[in-house]
């Protein structure tokens, strides 16, 4: 508390953080996850997948202009966007599941912000040295050496950023072609703009903003509270074992102290610059590096590991009473996580089922309402229909258009083909056909108000067929 009459500042500068290198099982796991996620991100657009001559051969491609999404053997049309919606719901439920079981495990291990920050810190450490060297460099006055180190680091960061922004656009066009276009400055302006924006965000977020993104920009830390409960495993400090903390100097009487020797190893490795010993806090992304750091120290001083560990709040009373915590599986298999898993699996099974039963012909019928019918000179009643026929395969196909009730309705499809009522739909395209259906003056369909009937579209070369129900308007309106 200050005696100054000036009000306190409502703004604070960012405290620089210099995470120290650490090794251990969680660090190793994080290296593997980092390698895997980065490899998926950078390499996926370059995987080829043969779909025949009419379709692109890129395994994962979001073709905005052609309005198709290709994923290996799956091709999604705009009218099948529910697959994407379903996947997003599954991703959401998956996030809920992992958060309720293991806290912010997404944040700590797989979030792009964490992965790229980790990568940028790795580069920083290679060039400027570990924590102490970086602190010294930070405090040092500008010199040729500091300038050289900073420039080297920034240039490497920039190269990574360009590669990151660059990889993004390859998902939206044929990667080898686009790379050539980009290199020869003949790609679309939007490609360069996208790369520039993503390069800038990668460079700034990974190099300079880091934990500020997690703390002030990301909504997830605020939402996570609803996903976690006392049974959730999160990174925590066993204060009943560690406290009172002290340096264990012989003169001070180490027998009254807890296991924590206040070495600050957990604080020094933390990428968000917090002290896990203060308890669960919003800034903690549960990256578990403090566990590795503390375990390392505990091993060195010959004490039991796990002073900082994955812990659940519900185990705290047990442990304080000297009992062992509940086993890990009891924390993971709880009613809540099982409900999340069941919902997640339900949607997954539904999507897979939908994927297998979906037809490779798409048919939708729109009766023309303006006018509802046309009287022809012989008194016949004619209705017209707009048929959209989608050929969801990689080959051109010819379809025959038919009706269920041909005894009362005659059909006439406007085509130039040699065969009556046949239309050819090119590979991977949609054809709009106008179809006239006529009822003779004495047919019931001509005199009734409405007659139900069904359109059939049949592949003349195969067995595939698809139907759509619609109505015929008679003159009795």
């Amino acid at each position: 508390m200050s005696d100054s009459s000036l009000p306190p500042s409502l703004y604070a500068a960012r405290e620089p953080i210099f995470p120290k290198r650490v090794s251990g099982k969680f660090r190793t796991l994080k290296w593997w996850i980092m390698g895997l996620t980065l490899a998926i991100y950078y390499l996926t657009p370059w995987i080829r997948w043969d779909r025949g001559p009419n379709l692109p051969d890129q395994a994962v491609l979001i073709d905005m202009a052609g309005r198709r999404f290709y994923f290996f053997w799956i091709e999604i049309w705009p009218h099948e966007f529910y697959f994407v919606a379903g996947l997003l719901i599954m991703a959401g439920l998956g996030l809920f599941l992992f958060t309720s079981a293991l806290g912010r495990v997404w944040c700590g291990y797989t979030c792009p912000q964490t992965v790229w920050t980790d990568l940028f810190i790795l580069v920083e450490r290679w060039i400027e040295g570990d924590r102490n060297a970086r602190v010294r460099l930070w405090n040092a006055d500008w010199s040729l050496r500091k300038f050289r180190l900073r420039m080297t680091k920034w240039i490497v960061w920039l190269i990574i950023s360009v590669a990151t922004g660059g990889a993004w656009v390859f998902y939206f066009a044929d990667a080898p072609t686009l790379l050539m276009d980009l290199a020869t400055f003949s790609a679309a302006p939007i490609a360069y703009t996208t790369i520039a924006v993503l390069t800038a965000t990668t460079f700034v977020f990974g190099g300079f903003m880091r934990e500020q993104v997690c703390i002030y920009m990301c909504p997830w830390p605020r939402i996570q509270g609803a996903m976690m409960d006392e049974g959730t495993l999160t990174v925590a400090y066993r204060d009943w074992r560690g406290e009172p903390r002290g340096k264990h100097r012989k003169a001070e009487g180490a027998e009254n102290l807890g296991d924590c020797i206040d070495c600050m190893a957990c604080v020094n490795v933390c990428p968000t610059g917090i002290d896990i010993r203060d308890g669960q806090q919003m800034e903690c992304i549960t990256c578990a590096l403090c566990i590795d750091a503390c375990d390392d120290i505990m091993s060195k001083i010959g004490k039991e590991r796990g002073l900082i560990d994955y812990l659940a709040l519900s185990d705290e009373p047990l442990e304080r009473a000297g009992q062992p915590p509940r086993p890990v599986w009891q924390h993971i298999f709880r009613l809540r996580t099982m409900i999340y898993t069941a919902l997640w699996a339900l949607i997954g099974v539904g999507l897979i089922w939908a994927l297998f039963v979906r037809s490779d012909i798409g048919l939708s019928v729109e009766p023309v309402r303006n006018p509802q019918f046309v009287t022809l000179s012989d008194g016949s009643i004619r209705n017209s229909y707009a048929l959209r026929i989608r050929n969801l395969t990689g080959d051109d196909r010819t379809f025959r258009i038919m009706l269920t009730s041909e005894d009362i309705l005659r059909i006439n499809v406007e085509t130039d083909g040699p065969n009556e009522n046949h239309v050819t739909v090119p590979a991977n395209e949609t054809l709009n056909a106008r179809v006239y259906v006529t009822a003779r003056p004495q047919d019931p369909a001509a005199t009734q108000e409405v007659t139900d009937f069904r359109f059939w579209v049949e592949d003349v070369a195969g067995e595939a067929r698809e139907s759509a129900d619609t109505i015929f308007n008679g003159r009795d309106q």
Partner: protein, 288 residues
């Protein structure tokens, strides 16, 4: 209201010194970069209002430094589309419609462009779906007063019908037989017309109507009511009636005569627009 800041007992965080009804505010300082971002958005906002039209004045608004206007953008967009279509429009304007293949780009351009021309110039009388109304022909059916070939449709669109502004307009006019025939003869003729169009009728009366029909009507409508296109005289032996096919409607038409007028669109539309609307009409289901 603002007291000296003090430390909150529970959280150990300083207060801002602000207090409302005993509620105090903890000072969890925002990052300074956030403040700078806020200032930058303000500067951006001011710059935006200088660059773009923004501040209202008495009769207009500031124009903005970069000279942007939504109206100008529309004009640019229209000019761009026009330039893009110039070649195909030219191709359509010079095309012989009867020889134009369906897969020619000019055909697709004509049909979609013709639909727009129809919507803005023709739909007022013929209906947005081209189904017509009483006195305004249905353009979807297989019955044409003046012909439904591409050539005939184009002529009708270009010169119109019974108008006094185009010498080449199609022209014919039915006399009002109320002044010529007696009431009985008109009733007999109407009954005869009902009979040749296959509707319910009084056979005895219809038989009496044959003579007045042949004497007065057949010259234009044909001996069997088959109509004569050169005269724009409608068929009387089919199911399609421009002014209604009931006994009352037919009697009224014989008495007073009815006909419509269509303006010559050749004086208002461009050549490619005429061809476009012709193509559009021809493919609606009734084209010959």
């Amino acid at each position: 209201m603002s007291d000296a800041p003090k430390t909150d007992d529970i959280t150990g965080i300083d207060t801002t010194g602000h207090e409302w009804d005993g509620i105090q505010e903890l000072n969890n300082p925002l990052p300074r970069w956030w403040l700078w971002t806020f200032y930058i958005t303000i500067i951006w906002g001011v710059g935006y209002t200088i660059a773009y039209p923004a501040w209202p004045l008495v009769s207009s608004a500031t124009a903005g430094l970069i000279g942007y206007s939504t109206r100008g953008e529309v004009a640019q967009e229209i000019a761009r589309v026009d330039a893009q279509n110039a070649e195909v429009a030219e191709r359509l304007a010079n095309a012989d419609l009867a020889a134009l293949p369906v897969d020619d780009p000019a055909y697709a351009y004509g049909v979609s462009g013709g639909s727009a021309v129809f919507a803005s110039h023709c739909s007022q009388c013929h209906g947005s779906g081209a189904a017509g109304a009483v006195g305004y022909p249905n353009l979807l059916d297989d019955d044409w007063l003046w012909g439904g070939s591409l050539e005939e449709i184009e002529y009708t669109v270009r010169h119109g019908i019974r108008n006094e502004t185009d010498f080449d307009a199609r022209w014919s006019e039915m006399p009002a037989f109320g002044d010529i025939l007696t009431e009985d003869e008109i009733a007999q003729t109407a009954e005869y017309v009902l009979s040749i169009s296959g509707q319910e009728h009084d056979s005895a009366l219809a038989a009496l109507g044959e003579t007045p029909y042949l004497d007065n009507c057949a010259a234009c409508h044909g001996d069997n009511g088959e109509g004569i296109r050169d005269l724009g005289a409608p068929k009387l032996n089919d199911a399609i009636w421009l002014y209604g096919g009931s006994r009352e409607a037919i009697t009224y038409t014989i008495n007073n005569a009815r006909f419509g007028v269509m303006p010559p669109w050749g004086q208002r539309l461009d050549e490619d627009e005429i061809k476009a609307v012709t193509l559009y009409l021809h493919q609606l289901g009734g084209g010959e």
